[in-house]
């Protein structure tokens, strides 16, 4: 009896199918690749934070004074910290800001922050800060000296695979020297006028209420509101400017260009607090200072 079954092989059609990925955890080495930086005393931390905030807000003379004093007393310290606005959004424990390995891990594995953990930490070395301040002031020769102290110098043997801040700073300053560039100087302070604006200081940043500040500075703005929750998510400044109220310091200036803030704005009790230096810049105000409990601005 013949019993034969035959199989015919089906034609194979190749196609790419997109599927939802389900990651499966795999244990890797858990060691820390980077020895943590030495922690600095609270007093030193606060001084560096202050110098940094003054620098970011354009108060270069004051920033230089503080930074030089820190350097004189404590050497080339490096200070790491979380800004206060970051702590408001932290849902769990954040890694030690001096421990880069833990910060990288939190960046890769997730920290619950609205921004990558590596961007939540501020790390500032006093020498770099001093070099940057001199550069902004326009004293490029002094800036080069400090960048060289940060090291390595141009032409000096470099360490490790990367692009050195010192090299880039020195080259930038040399180019400005060669071009004979001088940054504009502020007008005499007797021409500055006080603004009828309340403010608060946080991490040495001057924060002002957005509504009042825009009115005083002559900036148009409107809040962006989530239609589902009714909560404010941000504000449009002018036609193209944008600030976030969701725990992000990312911002676009009134030209629509990326112009991130050194301190993130936030809403508290119905008032939106925004770094004054950023708003002033949008209004074309280059120089300002806090004097006698008031914000004084230079003429545009």
């Amino acid at each position: 009896m013949v019993k034969r079954i035959m199989l015919s092989v089906g034609m194979v059609l190749f196609s790419v199918v997109t599927v939802v990925m389900q990651g499966q955890g795999l244990c890797q080495g858990t060691g820390n690749p980077v020895p943590p930086l030495p922690k600095q005393p609270k007093e030193v931390e606060e001084q560096v934070k202050r110098a940094y905030a003054l620098f970011e807000q354009g108060q270069y003379e004051a920033a230089l004074s503080v930074a030089l004093k820190v350097h004189q007393q404590h050497g080339n310290v490096m200070v790491c910290w979380y800004p206060r606005w970051v702590l408001q959004y932290a849902k769990g424990n954040l890694p030690d800001p001096y421990d880069k390995g833990s910060i990288l891990r939190a960046t890769v594995e997730g920290s619950g922050l609205p921004i990558p953990a590596s961007m939540a930490v501020r790390a500032k070395s006093v020498r770099v800060l001093i070099a940057q301040i001199y550069e902004e002031i326009g004293d490029y020769k002094e800036a080069i000296k400090w960048y060289e102290r940060v090291g390595p110098k141009l032409g000096e043997k470099t360490v490790g695979p990367g692009i050195h801040v010192s090299h880039m700073g020195i080259i930038r300053c040399m180019q400005k020297l060669n071009q004979g560039y001088r940054p504009p100087q502020p007008p005499p302070k007797n021409t500055w006028r006080p603004l009828p604006l309340k403010f608060r200081e946080e991490d040495y940043f001057i924060l002002v209420p957005l509504d009042e500040a825009c009115k005083v500075l002559g900036l148009s703005f409107r809040y962006k509101v989530n239609p589902k929750t009714g909560k404010r998510t941000g504000a449009q400044i002018g036609e193209k400017g944008l600030i976030s109220l969701t725990g992000r310091p990312f911002a676009r200036n009134i030209k629509g260009e990326i112009d991130d803030m050194a301190y993130a704005p936030y809403e508290e009790g119905g008032v939106v607090w925004v770094p004054f230096y950023w708003l002033a810049k949008q209004a074309g105000i280059r120089w300002w200072e806090v004097r006698d409990g008031k914000i004084y601005v230079a003429p545009k």
Binding site: P33, N76, L154, D260
Partner: protein, 427 residues
């Protein structure tokens, strides 16, 4: 291919016996399938009806199964959950006696393989099916695989690899770290492929591949409509990968398309013919200064040359911690001598992380592309002198410039900011 259905037909010849009775019986198909974890090297899915539903792709699921619902068939699972949900459907029986039956098999793994057999049981006895292309064989291999290395002959003929050993890893292009022994993915893994930004693809067994995960691919302000990324993907790759002379194909992966820390492994769902873990470079945006301790004398300890009581630190715009190739095979051993003894040891030898200082005024835009590109270059050229830095004929035509003579390549200053053709990793 995943979720592809293949049909196979078995029939009985002749249709009647010598007395004129119809030759009919119960036709039974059996599968003997591979069972790889996931459905490719970096992706796995649960079943459509729960964790153990039949079309999941975990390591407990067969890579080929019969469709559970097939007209004219009773399809039986080999396993079932406590709730009674069946999976691993490896047996299909015709519901009625017949002299011809067509069964459908579904592929649930890009690198899966299986053996299909057919039987008949009838009044005349029983027997096994023969193949029409090879009547002396009773088993169909899916996919067609004459050399039985579990790689489809179709793919091997298409790619024509240097070797057909499934464990081979013979890429020699680009030279990269000076060795020619591949990129870490075995031939079988190049064939099985992985998900790249949600899409599966296989890889060329002649060319070393490089993978990158961008942890700066975070929308800047999604609640207010700004979906641009903190580190734009274009800072890492053009749509076709790096296109410069000597560059390896560079594949940008989503964050969840690798697993582990500090090493992000891209072939973490490995099974058959696995050589070693292959790592993705990790791009990380930083808002503080990017720093490392200095160890110029190479004694394995940070030093205090300026005598201020604190270890010297080097501050970077961007910095790479470790290699993709070369020493990626032993990535995490503390102080490892660098290729050039003049460079001193680094305490940070480790995972291939490219840390980028986003707070630097020149890091945004074209400068960012430059910095990220430069750092990624280090991950490939780690074992070259000076980690791949070199004196280019002109400092304007190479990412891997010697830093002491850096000037922006003009293409990144405005004429063509997105151009990445200036990569010249093998000077």
């Amino acid at each position: 291919m995943l979720d592809e259905d293949l049909s196979f037909t078995a029939w009985i010849e002749p249709t009647t016996d010598h007395k004129g009775n119809p030759m009919v019986g119960t036709i039974i198909f059996l599968l003997d399938s591979s069972r790889q974890p996931g459905h490719c090297l970096n992706a796995c899915r649960l079943g459509s009806e729960g964790e153990w539903a039949w079309d999941g792709t975990t390591g407990c699921h067969d890579d080929f199964q019969f469709l559970p619902e097939q007209l004219g068939f009773t399809v039986l699972p080999r396993n079932q959950t406590p709730e009674g949900i069946g999976y691993n459907y490896d047996t299909a029986m015709s519901s009625l006696v017949t002299n011809v039956a067509t069964v459908t098999v579904r592929c649930l793994d890009y690198g899966g393989w299986t053996y299909l057999m057919g039987y008949v049981i009838g009044f005349f006895g029983e027997g096994a099916a023969r193949r029409i292309d090879a009547p002396d064989l009773f088993v169909v291999d899916i996919p067609v695989d004459k050399n039985e290395n579990h790689i489809a002959d179709y793919w091997e003929d298409l790619r024509d690899p240097p070797s057909r050993d499934p464990l081979s890893d013979d890429e020699d292009t680009p030279v990269g770290d000076g060795r020619t022994d591949g990129d870490g993915l075995s031939l079988y893994e190049e064939y099985r492929g992985l998900m790249k930004q949600g899409r599966w693809r296989d890889f060329d067994p002649w060319i070393k591949d490089m993978f990158v995960t961008n942890f700066g691919a975070v929308p800047r302000d999604p609640e207010n409509g700004d979906w641009s990324f903190v580190i734009p993907n274009k800072a890492i790759t053009s749509p076709d990968g790096f296109i410069g002379a000597g560059m390896p194909p560079l594949w940008l992966l989503n964050a969840n398309e690798g697993s582990g820390y500090p090493l992000r492994v891209v072939n973490f769902l490995w099974g058959y013919a696995h050589r070693r873990d292959v790592y993705a470079a990790i791009v990380v945006p930083s808002w503080g200064e990017v720093w490392v301790y200095a160890d110029r004398d190479g004694d394995g300890q940070p030093e205090d040359n300026d005598g201020d009581g604190d270890f010297d630190k080097i501050i970077y715009w961007g910095f790479t911690y470790g290699p993709i190739w070369g020493q990626a095979r032993r990535p995490y051993e503390g102080f490892i001598p660098p290729p050039d003894p003049n460079w001193g040891n680094q305490p940070l030898w480790g995972p291939p992380v490219c840390e980028i200082d986003m707070n630097n005024p020149n890091s945004i835009g074209a400068g960012l592309i430059f910095v990220v590109g430069h750092e990624l270059g280090h991950t490939v050229l780690w074992d070259k002198p000076a980690y791949g830095h070199h004196f280019a004929p002109s400092a304007q035509d190479c990412f891997m410039f010697q830093p002491t003579i850096v000037f922006w390549p003009t293409e990144f200053c405005g004429a063509n900011p997105g151009c990445q053709s200036l990569w010249k990793l093998n000077p």
